[in-house]
Symmetry: none
Subunit: 252 residues, 2 copies
DNA sequence: GGAACAGCCTGACGTCGGGTCAGGGTCAAG
DNA sequence: CTTGACCCTGACCCGACGTCAGGCTGTTCC
């Protein structure tokens, strides 16, 4: 069985131009051409196109989709599992957004008005989107993640305020120690690292020193996490990372 | 209270460039400039930016966002209602995609191939009726194609022997329990259902009770899946479906 | 008070994922 | 053998920013 561009486009709900584009960039190539030069897609091409569309829908840039699909270590089942996980992430995030809108609607009907900052926290960004998506990607099927999800789902807004204040506090304590000239493996720095570890354990999930050391490495390896610390003070990401790992060594 | 571009960007989780862009196209304009020409955003600007970001997240082109927000007939509550509706739409759509991926995962484990139009269903939904006739004409006899499209997997032949033996085993245990007269929601039937769930989890993909319940529904709703069970014993598809859903209920 | 440095400004060009003609070949039906 | 639907390859266009470049501002630290 084979399809022309137009047929496939209708089937997949995309345009002919999109198929031309995917052909040109080598993302989905028709497995054959007719003598007249018409593109001819077969079943395996459909298969691939479907995968592409799911990843596209999930917001992946096409180039990355290509490398994902061309990875010889990833069989079809692996893609399905990954897509399933990503879709569930999205489901959760959307549910959170729906809940936030409902909350705001209710607040309005009751004459309570949320401050702009509160609304940004709920809706805006980072905490519920990027952080969560990234963290889940990393900790996807660990106990830690599950535990964190269970605990945080019960937190009230007041809890969150406290969590954030505390986190902010620890960050700035790190910055202070660094500015004081103490090295990252000094007792002072390690003490703050230990506070950091306990902050995580208290609010999110059980974080033993070993695991904490893993987080420390991530703080420099992953630029997004690094950026969070670099925003507070330049060089802080590396400093925190070293301090955290030194502290883990001290405990172990 | 007022914010500079950089501050607002960090607050909202966007870049400075994005704010410049929104200023230039007149979407979010700072309500003031400092004497040096710096942009200065106040609370109402922040408010507006938040609305913009929600609509953007929902996929609206910026120009349309502008006309929506500048509509004098649309009060804040109207925007909330609209956003709520759109978010619920997205929720439904995402749920449909999750279901589609789960269906495909299950199809693979059972060696069934979905038809192309079935797999693209969620992408072209609006017009699917229009092309249904064409698709059915094309795929009236889909068996040959289905069989030719048998999945390939990373398992060794020995693995497959074990997988199939196990699956076969579970099916026949279902049939036995049914023949014994136990109802589909009896403990005995649910126990087999649980084995079934664990079989899938062990060999194919992580299948939590909820997802298992979804599969259960599909076993009767989709005739191809139903046929697999009906072949073992008449009425088994419905029986398995009920048992699986009862078991999921028990777990939840 | 001046140097350093983060942060702000305005162009202006680049990129990604296609949309939209233009100019021309292909093919089944009538 | 014409008509109309469909296909081809350029080539340019667009939205929503990213990414310099070149230059001003303002705080901080000596």
């Amino acid at each position: 069985m084979s399809w022309t561009v137009g047929e496939l486009a209708r089937l997949a709900g995309i345009t002919v131009r999109t198929l031309h584009h995917y052909d040109r960039i080598g993302l989905v190539r028709p497995s054959a051409r007719t003598s007249a030069g018409y593109r001819s897609y077969d079943g395996r091409d459909l298969d691939r196109l479907q995968q592409v569309l799911v990843y596209r829908e999930l917001g992946f840039p096409l180039e990355e989709v290509g490398t994902l699909l061309d990875d010889p270590d990833a069989d079809p089942a692996a893609h399905l599992r990954r897509q399933h996980r990503l879709l569930r992430d999205r489901l959760e995030r959307t549910q959170a957004m729906v809940a936030a809108v409902e909350k705001e609607m209710e607040a309005r009907t009751m004459g309570i008005s949320l401050t702009p900052e509160e609304r940004f926290e709920l809706f805006g960004n980072g905490f519920s989107d990027e952080y969560q998506a990234e963290a889940e990607e990393r900790w996807g099927d660990t106990d830690a993640w599950a535990q964190s999800q269970r605990r945080t789902s019960a937190y009230t807004k007041e809890d969150w305020v406290r969590v954030k204040t505390e986190a902010h506090d620890v960050q700035h304590r790190f910055a202070e120690v660094m500015r004081s000239g103490a090295t990252a493996d000094s007792a002072a720095a390690m003490d703050v690292a230990e506070e950091h570890r306990q902050h995580i354990s208290r609010w999110f999930y059980d974080c033993p020193p070993e695991m904490h050391a893993g987080l420390g490495r991530m703080y420099v390896e992953d630029e997004r996490f690094a950026a969070t610390y670099e925003q507070v003070a330049p060089g802080l990401a590396q400093y925190v990372s070293t301090a955290v790992q030194a502290n883990a060594g001290r405990q172990g």
